[in-house]
Amino acid sequence: MNIPFNFRLTDFPVEAETLRLEVREFLSSALVDVPKETRAETWYGADEGFSRKVGERGWIGLSWPTEYGGSGRSAMERYVVLEEMLTAGAPVGAHWIADRQSGPLIIRYGTPEQQEKILPGILKGETYFCIGMSEPDSGSDLAALRTKAEKKGDKYIVNGTKLWTSGAQRCQYMIALFRTSKEEDRHGGFSQFIVDLSLPGVTIRPIIDLAGRHHFNEVVFEDVEVPETMLVGKEGDGWNQVTAELALERSGPERYLSSYALLQELIKEFSERNDYEGVTEIGRQMAHLTTLRQMSVSVAGMLNDGENPALEASVVKDLGAVFEQDLPNIAHRLMDLEPDNQGNDFQKYLAILTQISPSFSLRGGTREILRGIIARGLGLR
């Protein structure tokens, strides 16, 4: 066999490094009032005022083509903006999904009418999206989803329930995957829609997570009338369209930087104490982080070149989640401090990340599913 993946190193162009300094400069003042609890959540922390400021700078839709209102810059420049935001603990959660995948999906498959209606709001940092995939009986087994969209005249009538929908409470729209016909083929008969969440018959109910936060939602559709103009791409092509999105979703810097704040606080604690216990472990984590970053940047380079690095993206996400989940345990082993929401910065980050880290290997494809994809790539299934 040959090794089925190829991560060639990718360098950032000069303009990306210039942009990096601009972003750092912006963040040095923009984050002053953002609480630690929000910073610790990185791309799950949302602040609409912050998103609008990012939009004003032209950093949402940075790599979208200019004819769609984007800045037409490279995926490498976009990558730099993301990693700088995440490591600074910027509350990017409100616009994150729209910028990362809903906007690009609408550019790729959407109608001119959809593009005109929706893209400008995303670019301003005012229009937010959530992703409607999982359902009560369809988690890892996405093909088992049951929410139906039945064609009736110029509308689709939607009935069913989406579950674990992150951020739905603050989003205007959902990109939803619905069943539009019964197919013999397990992967046939699905279609993607832009669903206006203010439509009659849509009910969004909070699901409180183990840390007491409200990110998840249950979104119930009862005879919701979605205009046929809101179908994205071709009816029945939903599965393929979703699969193409996954490489965008699985390889970005958010897949290994979720616990970054904790690592930085750990270094701060050591520096202040002038204590070199644990120094080897810090270096080890630095080596892991640096390598993951090179891998993730490599995937960004492949995406920028129009390739489809779906397998490489799964490798990054799997390794990234292991890294992110190790950090709270390592931080706990190295420091004799309790996780404490009222404690110092380190204790706050430890409190939050210890509790939310289980989600890192669930969201965006569970560990088992990702490893199954990798095993298929290796020729084992």
Binding site: I3, F5, L9, Y276, A287, L319, E368, L378
Partner: protein
């Protein structure tokens, strides 16, 4: 070198090693037979001179090119000191010293003193010392850093080997004269860094080898009426192994590329540290998947895994290089942590 010549180099090395590095070749080498034919082919292709500039009659390649060869050596477990000869001839070229005809070089690594151009000191665990004609040494002479070329005298040499049965000789020098020596302007810790760089790349290659062997075995070995690779437990383990293989390859490339950019300290430490972790996880999985057969001498898996276990400890363990990174990160302070990663530099 262009992308095409890199590809050509890679294809040539693959062909040469797949033709000549047979299982018997490795077994014979472990018993002390020098693989003459393999070595002659390597020399005929000029692989040993990949990093020597063209004006010194070398190939004029870069570290990414050398990385291709280092990885191929690991992938085939070629029982020859090609990596060492590449690095040794590079160090000689830094000092403008030409390599003697038909020489086989080793790199001395230890503590040395020089007096009146006579070298004393010891180099423990010198790679392939017993098969080498000459040694290359980087040493301090007063305030000068110098490169010296000496002849290997078997009387000063005590044989030993690592657990992969690669020759590692102990060389004891007492006022030995140089064939040639010259001042050089480079990092005084260069030998250890380049050693870590070459072993990191060789390990990345050997990790690829244990992955391909394990996948092949999992697809062939039938238990409970089907290939064991059809079981999810095995698939998940092999997926994990492959993620570490991918990470190791990237870390090794990153070190080579940083070397080419002239700022390798951070990346070399990252590579040796990261790949050490990959070896611990990866060798374990490969053996687990292979079951008892992989634990026999008859089966070839151990040619790679024993090398991995030996190499991870050579030229500084992963922990030692992690410590280098960690100490700098902590003394630089938290605010410089991220910038040091984006710049690939600890001294910012």
């Amino acid at each position: 070198m262009t992308d095409e010549t890199s590809q050509l180099l890679s294809d040539t090395a693959e062909k040469l090693f797949s033709d000549h590095v047979t299982k018997n070749c490795i077994i014979d080498a472990e018993k002390g037979t020098w693989p003459d034919e393999l070595w002659s082919e390597v020399i005929a292709n000029g692989f040993n001179l990949i990093l020597v500039p063209e004006e010194l009659d070398g190939v004029g390649g870069n570290w990414m090119n050398a990385g291709i060869l280092f990885k191929a050596l690991g992938r085939y477990q070629a029982p020859i000191p090609l990596a060492e000869n590449i690095v040794a001839s590079y160090i000689l070229s830094l000092a403008g010293i030409s390599q003697p005809t038909d020489s086989i070089l080793t790199i001395l690594n230890g503590a040395f003193v020089a007096e009146n151009d006579l070298l004393s000191g010891s180099s423990p665990r010198t790679p392939f010392a017993s098969y080498s004609t000459h040694g290359v040494v980087l040493y301090k002479d007063g305030s000068d850093l110098k490169v010296g070329l000496i002849e290997i005298d078997k009387n000063n040499l005590k044989d030993n080997s690592n657990i992969a049965l690669e020759n590692r000789g102990h060389i004891e020098l007492d006022k030995v004269s140089f064939i040639e020596n010259s001042k050089v302007d480079c990092d005084s810790n260069l030998v250890k860094k380049l050693g870590a760089l070459m072993r990191s790349n060789q390990m990345a290659g050997a990790l690829e080898s244990i992955l391909t062997q394990s996948v092949r075995y999992a697809n062939e070995r039938i238990q409970f009426g089907r290939p064991i690779g059809k079981f999810q437990a095995i698939q998940q383990d092999l997926a994990v192994l492959s993620t570490h293989v991918a990470a190791s390859s990237v870390a090794a490339d990153y070190a080579c590329s940083s070397m080419d950019k002239g700022n390798p300290d951070f990346a070399i430490a990252v590579a040796k540290s990261r790949i050490d972790d990959a070896v611990s996880v990866g060798a374990g999985i490969a053996h687990q998947v292979h079951g008892a057969i992989g634990f026999t001498y008859e089966h070839g898996l151990h040619f790679a895994t024993r090398r991995l276990w030996a190499w991870r400890a050579e030229y500084g363990s992963g922990s030692e290089w992690s410590k280098v990174l960690g100490e700098k990160a902590i003394s630089n302070g938290a605010d410089k942590f991220w910038p040091s990663i984006t710049q690939g530099d600890l001294d910012i």
